[in-house]
């Protein structure tokens, strides 16, 4: 009887405490999701005075047969794969490097995070200047000093070199995220495990494989999954750097706000939703089990 009464008060209090968060999420996430689904069946422009026309699945067939979309999908998968692998490996390597006591450890750790927390716009300006075709320091170093290239690559104006540029940018910008997560878990590994492996004559690589990797596995899965999702929907990093790499985020944004076709943009969103949900279904159990939500 007493227990029941206690439960009741919890329900009420929880409802009050969670109300602002849930109301906002319902209004600005759940409702838009439904609305988005609805819009995807209409031909609709940005101008609110032009009435939408119902066109069934036409937006979907238009997208799925659009060579530009399929190309964009391929580019996005490749971009996601390379940036996730790159930023995770660099982050892990730097974390292992940092996993020991040394002078300036705290300040070094804080400095490494700078690229991750600074606004994209500032970082993009710096990169645009560094990689400038005429007077950028990168072309000066790679062409005039190190002679890596015969001619300065036009970093912002060619699809391939621009793709390399946005991948490098993302690895540089996001490796600190992996770095922080790995450093935290590395500090929890018991040193005696390494000592035991050493007595057994294990090499550095074997120690990594037998001791480090199993210990960091849960974090590795979370880091790679979340990074993959965020990279898959990447928008401003690429959008602000170059107009030569058409990721899905940019394809969606331009369909809506440059080509003025909200219906088609909404159906691109729906397709992306489906991909996201597939990923969540596959990963949720594992990530949840590791206490990240």
């Amino acid at each position: 009887m007493k227990k029941k009464a206690r439960k009741k008060t919890d329900n009420k209090l929880a409802a009050v405490l969670l109300f602002p968060s849930i109301a906002l999420i319902l209004l600005l996430v759940a409702y838009p999701m439904v609305s988005n689904f609805q819009i995807s069946f209409f031909e609709q422009s940005i101008n609110p005075n032009i009435d939408p026309t119902f066109i069934g699945f036409e937006n979907y067939t238009a997208i799925l047969t659009d060579a530009e979309f399929l190309k964009s999908l391929g580019i996005t998968f490749l971009y996601t794969f390379l940036t996730v692998v790159g930023s995770t490996i660099v982050g892990l390597a730097v974390a292992i490097f940092f996993n020991r006591p040394f002078m300036f450890r705290k300040i070094s750790r804080a400095l490494i995070i700078a690229s991750y927390v600074a606004p994209t716009i500032s970082l993009v300006f710096a990169w645009k200047y560094m990689f400038n075709n005429n007077y950028g320091i990168i072309n000066y170093l790679t062409v005039d000093v190190l002679h890596l290239f015969d001619q300065a690559p036009l970093w912002f104006d060619r699809p391939t070199s621009s793709f390399i540029l946005v991948v490098l940018f993302a690895i540089w910008r996001y490796f600190p995220y992996a770095f922080i997560s790995f450093l935290a878990i590395l500090q929890t590994i018991d040193n005696t495990l390494y000592e035991a492996a050493e007595i057994d004559g294990a090499s550095a690589w074997q120690k990594f494989k037998v001791v480090t990797l199993p210990a960091i596995m849960p974090v590795l899965i979370i880091v790679a999954t979340l990074r993959a999702i965020w990279q898959f929907y990447t928008f401003e990093d690429v959008f602000l750097l170059t107009n030569q790499v058409n990721t899905l985020g940019i394809y969606l944004y331009q369909t809506a706000f440059a080509f003025n076709d909200l219906g088609k943009a909404a159906s691109i969103s729906v397709i992306l939703f489906l991909i996201l949900f597939a990923v969540i279904l596959i990963t949720r159990k594992r990530v949840n089990a590791n206490g990240n939500g």
């Binding site: 209090l13 999420i25 927390v117 996001y174």
Partner: protein
């Protein structure tokens, strides 16, 4: 025996030196763009576009900083104030809502808890981009297009799930005994939140504040879709608009970039001291 000890000591010194050289390389690679940003901001305009780039300026100048704060040349100060107002409001409201939400998720047993938890998790993985079309329509139909209110509300929603998860992980570490003792002393749940939970998780609250501020301060997508007139622009879209016009000057842009990046970098630097381990930062979205 002594020989062996001497050589192992020498070994250690060598390894130490190699380590610090490696550290210098890692930091240099990571910070190089910031270095270029700063050096260009204190170079003359002609030196910034010289055929042979220089690392350090031949003549140091702070003109570019004076320029960006000159309202006749640049609306930089307007953008800065807009960004500051939006980001502070987002951070304060996010902190308030997430304290309540995280307390419920961490300490209360209630109907639908698991469902709500997984919905927050799904929203956390969401990107604003996926909802940009319906959000644009909703904002327009509410008459909020081109207002900072629209931007602020959208950004609060963006930060809430991660903010709740971050605080929940702090609240989870507070033992139930403390609360039970407080209840025996006659405090109700709301008083417990204010007098027990909040003081005990002040470092978590600071990191949520910094996180929400950063998401709002750095946002480009929502601002570019919801705002249309220059007097409402925040820094990211304002600077992007300035850069698209042909009369940009590298020194000014770099000065603007530095001043734009400083608030979040300083806030992170300060909050570092409060954050334990790093598990919380690991949950930061971006």
């Amino acid at each position: 025996m002594q020989m062996a000890m001497a050589s192992s000591k020498k070994d250690r010194t060598t390894r130490k030196i190699l380590f610090y050289i490696g550290l210098a390389f890692v930091l240099a690679g990571s910070l190089f763009p910031f270095f270029i940003m700063f050096m260009t901001s204190v170079k003359s305009t002609s030196e910034a576009i010289a055929q042979t780039p220089t690392l350090l300026p031949k003549i140091w100048t702070i003109d570019h900083y004076a320029d960006i704060f000159n309202p006749e040349l640049f609306p930089y100060v307007t953008y800065f104030i807009n960004s500051m107002v939006v980001s502070l409001i987002v951070a304060v409201i996010s902190v308030a809502f997430s304290i309540f939400g995280a307390y419920a998720m961490s300490k209360l047993k209630f109907f639908g808890r698991t469902t709500i938890n997984s919905s927050f998790y799904v929203v956390y993985m969401f990107s604003g981009l996926l909802l940009i079309v319906p959000l644009f329509k909703i904002i327009s139909s509410l008459g909020l297009y081109n207002t900072k209110t629209a931007l602020t509300i959208a950004l609060i929603v963006q930060t809430l799930p991660a903010a709740i998860f971050m605080l929940k992980s702090y609240f989870d570490t507070i033992p139930a005994d403390i609360e039970e003792a407080a209840m025996i002393d006659g405090l109700n749940r709301v008083q417990i939140i204010f007098y027990i939970i909040m003081p005990l998780s002040i470092s978590g609250i600071i990191s949520v504040f910094v996180y929400a501020f950063m998401i709002a301060w750095n946002d480009f997508l929502f601002a570019s879709v919801f705002l249309s007139s220059s007097e409402n622009f925040t820094l990211p879209i304002g600077l992007n608009a300035l850069f698209s016009t042909p009369d940009y000057v590298w020194g000014r842009m770099m000065a603007a970039s530095i001043v734009t990046a400083l608030p979040v970098i300083i806030m992170y630097g300060i909050s570092e001291r409060f954050i334990k381990g790093g598990a919380v930062e690991g949950g930061v979205k971006g």
